[in-house]
């Protein structure tokens, strides 16, 4: 998918300015930037949730080939199972396919044993895994994530990262915003840095971290803390 010279105005403020961005199939793109830099707005623009000027091209067509997981996972006050089934229903999946796809999604996310549980009783990490299961169940080609591990403890964060890495290995294109450079280093194939609504840097991950090492800003892309 591609954004070409896209501006997004929110509440009279130009949140994104002249954004040109192409996302290739199979990429794992990390959006990094400070709070208020425009990462979330960019994700929403990619997903078609905000109005914009300029052009937005999606290779496969509608939002149904994409899925988005938000920082605070939206969980219906129903069972784990019903959360997945409703997502499949909203995505237009045939009702005969829903049980099998829902079951596979929960199994993939390690939530199969919890399918009957009220979803609001899950831990934060489990709820985020449910959100990912729901997204994966509809079979998106592009998965957008807005800081999916921001509120999670290290163990839960690792579970989510492993799940995302496995999705990407299977060919799913992923665009994820994150504050965590180490996480970006572990997962991403490409780093896009946003600052005040504009793309400042757009590099393959290895080159990005090389540059930062050369500039003395980040000792390692392997997860060492800053």
């Amino acid at each position: 998918m591609a954004l070409d010279h896209v501006d997004v105005q929110l509440g009279g403020v130009l949140a994104l300015r002249d954004i040109t961005l192409r996302v290739g199939r199979g990429e794992f793109l990390a959006l990094i930037g400070d709070n208020g830099s425009g990462k979330t707005t960019l994700l929403r623009a990619l997903h078609g949730l905000v109005g914009h000027t300029g052009s937005r091209t999606v290779a496969s067509g509608s939002r149904r080939t994409q899925a988005m997981v938000f920082q605070r996972p939206f969980i219906l006050r129903l069972s784990v199972w019903h959360n997945v089934v409703i997502a499949l229903w909203l995505a237009g999946v045939d009702r005969r396919e829903r049980p099998e796809r829902g079951a596979r999604a929960l199994q993939r996310a390690g939530l199969d044993a919890l399918r009957g549980r009220p979803a609001w009783t899950l831990s934060g990490g489990q709820q985020q895994r449910l959100a990912l299961a729901r997204a994966w169940a509809v079979g998106p080609e592009l998965l957008l994530l807005d800081e999916p591990t921001a509120n999670l403890d290290p163990a839960a964060r690792q579970e989510i990262e492993e799940l995302l890495a496995s999705f990407n290995r299977e060919g799913m294109t992923i665009v994820m915003s994150t504050h965590d450079l180490a996480q970006a280093g572990r997962l991403a194939t490409r780093i896009v840095q946003i600052d005040r609504g504009q793309v400042r840097t757009d590099l393959p991950a290895s080159r990005y971290f090389e540059r930062r090492r050369d500039a003395g800003a980040f000792p390692s892309a392997q997860g060492n803390p800053i």
């Binding site: 929403r44 997903h47 949730l49 939002r63 149904r64 899925a67 988005m68 938000f70 605070r72 996972p73 939206f74 969980i75 219906l76 006050r77 129903l78 409703i86 997502a87 909203l90 995505a91 237009g92 009220p118 609001w120 831990s123 934060g124 990490g125 709820q127 959100a131 729901r134 509809v138 509120n151 999670l152």
Partner: protein, 238 residues
């Protein structure tokens, strides 16, 4: 005329012995207010959900008008429905003035703004957080509104119970369109008004106690619904 203590004694006897006249009056109250609330809930929740989820030109004016109708005096509602249903009115051919049907219509109109306004607020608040995720999953605005109502079902229960309490407790509208006819359109509130004006306190007191008990029960159920709502974490908080 009995003094207060004697009246209370007789009232207690009416309650304990399940006086048939009292029971018939209570039953009619519950049927009329329950029916009005059921009809108004279907229409009001749908209208509230639609108003919250579907932007259109002039929506703010409609919402402001809806909030104004919250303060609609029950006697004015009764008067309007009376004028509509009277023989000279546009719906006079229905022939339902001074029947429970007319009372149901009047109370439906009375509680409809309450249901619509509160459900609109509930859905609007819910969509502020859930709007994007639901749109992302493919929900149309109307489906998103319905899912929010489903998600907030205990809050919806509280709204419906509040509307029921309002309907059950009002006297002006049902007095005008029902006529307070014994055995036909006499409900708890109109009966209390009549018996008190006659100085005949026992039945009024008995019905008053029962009405208080029902209202307290309804309120208790609303409190329970709010507790159940709070017991379920909201919007994916870990």
């Amino acid at each position: 005329m009995l003094d207060l203590t004697e009246s209370l004694g007789v009232a207690a006897g009416l309650i304990l012995h399940a006086d048939p006249v009292m029971l018939r009056t209570i039953w009619l109250s519950l049927v009329v207010s329950g029916s009005a609330c059921a009809i108004a809930s279907v229409v009001g929740l749908a209208a509230g959900g639609w108003l919250a989820s579907k932007p259109f030109p002039g929506r703010r004016i409609v919402v402001a008008g809806l909030h104004t109708l919250l303060a609609l005096p029950s006697v004015v509602v009764g008067l309007v429905v009376y004028l509509l249903l009277s023989r000279a009115g546009p719906l006079g051919a229905w022939g339902i003035l001074f029947t429970p049907g007319a009372m149901v219509i009047a109370q439906t109109i009375l509680v409809l703004p309450l249901l619509a306004a509160l459900s609109r607020q509930l859905v609007a608040d819910g969509l502020r957080q859930a709007g994007d995720p639901l749109r992302s999953m493919g929900a149309t605005p109307m489906v998103a509104g319905i899912l929010v109502l489903l998600h907030e079902r205990w809050a919806v229960a509280t709204i419906v119970l509040t509307a029921f309490g309002r309907a059950l407790s009002e006297v002006g509208a049902v007095m005008i369109v029902g006529g307070n006819i014994e055995g036909v359109t006499r409900v708890m509130t109109t009966s209390i008004a009549l018996e008190t004006s006659k100085g005949d306190l026992p039945l009024a007191l008995a019905l008053g106690v029962v009405l208080l008990a029902i209202v307290a029960t309804v309120n208790g159920m609303a409190i329970l619904a709010r507790r159940l709502q709070r017991g379920e974490s909201s919007w994916g908080e870990p």
